[in-house]
Amino acid sequence: MYQYNDDDQTLVNERVAQFRRQTGQFLKGEITDDQFRALRLRNGLYIQTHAPMLRIAVPYGLLNSRQLRKIAHIARTYDKNYCHLTTRQNIQFNWPKLEQVPDILAELASVQMHAIQTSGNCIRNTTSDHLAGVCVDEIEDPRPYCEIIRQWSTLHPEFDFLPRKFKIAVSGALHDRAATQFHDIGLHLVKNDAGDIGFRVLVGGGLGRTPVIGQVIKPYLEKKYLLSYLEAILRIYNLFGRRDNMYKARIKILVKESGLENFAALVEQEWLLTKDTQVVSDGRIAALKMQFNAPAYEADAAQDNSFAQRQQENPAFALWVKHNTVAHKVSGYRAVFLSLKAPDAPPGDMTDAQLDTVADLADQYSFGEVRSTHRQNLIFADVKQAGLFPLWQQLDAIKLATPNIGTATDIICCPGLDFCSLANASTIGISKEINEALDNMDYLHDIGDVKINMSGCMNGCAHQSVGHIGVLGVDKKGVEWYQLTLGGSSENEAAIGERLGPAVAKNEVTRAITAILEVYVKQRLDDESFLDMVKRVGIDPFKEQVYANH
């Protein structure tokens, strides 16, 4: 994992001092509301329904146990003993006090963390594959490049006041787990015909109000040009992106209105003038790769027999292994998902006690590191198979072992009306209802891979438009209604969900979802997945069932 050098530490310390000064000036009335808004957003601070909300950056989802303990400490000291994981792999606190935020940021800086650019119209936290470095289908580990982008984008003087927010994701594997096709810029490590590895660059993807699938702007970019090319895209966007209407200000609209070809030509023209500046040297890449070296795996981890035996003896353990762990590139190891979707807990929330225990377990079982996923769960990336059984028992004791990863109860859910000032409708209560309706694990596992994403407003923080089943809360004359979509996906076969029909009432959402799943169970072919069946039959059979009695 990347460790700060003196310059990194100085930068975050100076940022804390700057925000402390800005907050003081605001509280004394020396900075206007408007100005302070722009400044606090760039430090992750929103003013929400009940209290400020502070979003802290987890660069490409990597955390160590020391950082987790600090998060637990902050949750205890400055918040109501819990935090929330976001779809950008970040962490949010829902109850900090404005005047204490500089202290919280100072606490974070002491463990090499910050909240820089987690909000505002600037370049946001770069996200990546949560299985980077350990998955079996990797072309190259994307994390060194994520770190290069993190540094480049942090306090970028030219691009801090963009037309709108800007999100970059990097994937290094064959299977896209980072939703790169739905980012302002998506980067894919690819091998060219000569066998060299570079980037396929996508531009103009995005979710929110107008979901768009990103388009390839450069099929192959040499690594050394990574930053000059990003800079060229950002400069064109900064100069020409729309600023007259915030709903049309994302780069996807500029790309659409200019046409990809014209936009690409502008970028190319800009890039050709600057491509030899800020070249990413082989030496720099090599030095950063050292920071993401594989941990000291035990050569004989695969020799262990207890793992197979425990699975035979204990069906509950076997079930958890099947659903909540995945293959690792090193024999004898597996990557373990910690489900933050227990039936009785709000999706993505963690208590301070859970955070502390997870930190201890990370030290004990996974080289002291944890990852956050964009589906709001955690991962121990490097657990040897002999450790899985005792780890499972200890995770179960803190309710982080619900064997539902990738199933219909592993719901991505925004905080909704309960916490968010932008929301039109509540989400957490419905998620709980769905969880209760699908409490039969056998049925849940029989349904298999179904991704339900639920947002409480058009901003779409929970990425409902790419959910296999998407749920979008809307407000109609003061009443909460929910639009359903089917067939979305943020993975390789990127697709935007199709609207099922008229919005349903709040008390009908769970029934509608169970009806959709019943249609699937009845009409699927052999081991056809939910998404495949939707593609095959379209939405009509589901529509008939959901609206049958209306």
């Binding site: 930068l11 722009a38 306090l155 006041f161 100069l239 600057t274």
Partner: protein, 150 residues
């Protein structure tokens, strides 16, 4: 009226002549449209010249004139409009402009550090109290991660 230039508070010797005001001799800046319209007349007058550009202008339009201009003013319509950050970068890096680049209008004091990095070397705040504030904000950071002008 005073301004900040090259990290010093100094007296401002420049006068801004709007589109319809009468041209005067001496250190004057004019809007880009006026420059384009009265360029010959301006070049024949005595004294240094400057052009004030807005966020919607393109610095490419004055690229060939830069050798005749001692000052480019970047007029911020709002602090949220970041186009002028790229315009400043283009002036310095693309067109090699060596003269004064000055931020005027609705930029905010907390932006002067970034502005200085993209090549702005002078600041004209609306209120005199802001001079010392902005001067100190120029030193908010001692480290940075990326290439820019400074």
């Amino acid at each position: 009226m005073q301004i900040i230039k090259d990290k010093q508070i100094i007296d401002d010797s420049w006068r801004y002549i709007s589109d319809d005001a009468e041209l005067k001799a001496g250190n004057i800046t004019v809007p880009l449209a006026r420059w384009q319209q009265d360029k010959q007349q301006l070049l024949e007058s005595d004294g240094p010249l400057g052009v004030r550009i807005s966020a919607t202008d393109s610095v490419a339009d004055i690229a060939i004139d830069l050798k005749n201009l001692q000052l480019i003013e970047l007029d911020f319509p709002s602090f949220a409009d970041g186009r002028l950050f790229s315009q400043a970068w283009l002036l310095r890096r693309r067109y090699g402009y060596q003269g004064e680049i000055r931020a005027v209008g609705h930029y905010m004091p907390d932006q002067v550090f970034y502005l200085s990095r993209v090549g702005v070397n002078a600041f004209k705040p609306d209120e005199a109290e802001r001079l010392t504030v902005e001067l100190s904000h120029l030193n908010d950071f001692t480290v940075n991660y990326q290439e820019s002008v400074n």
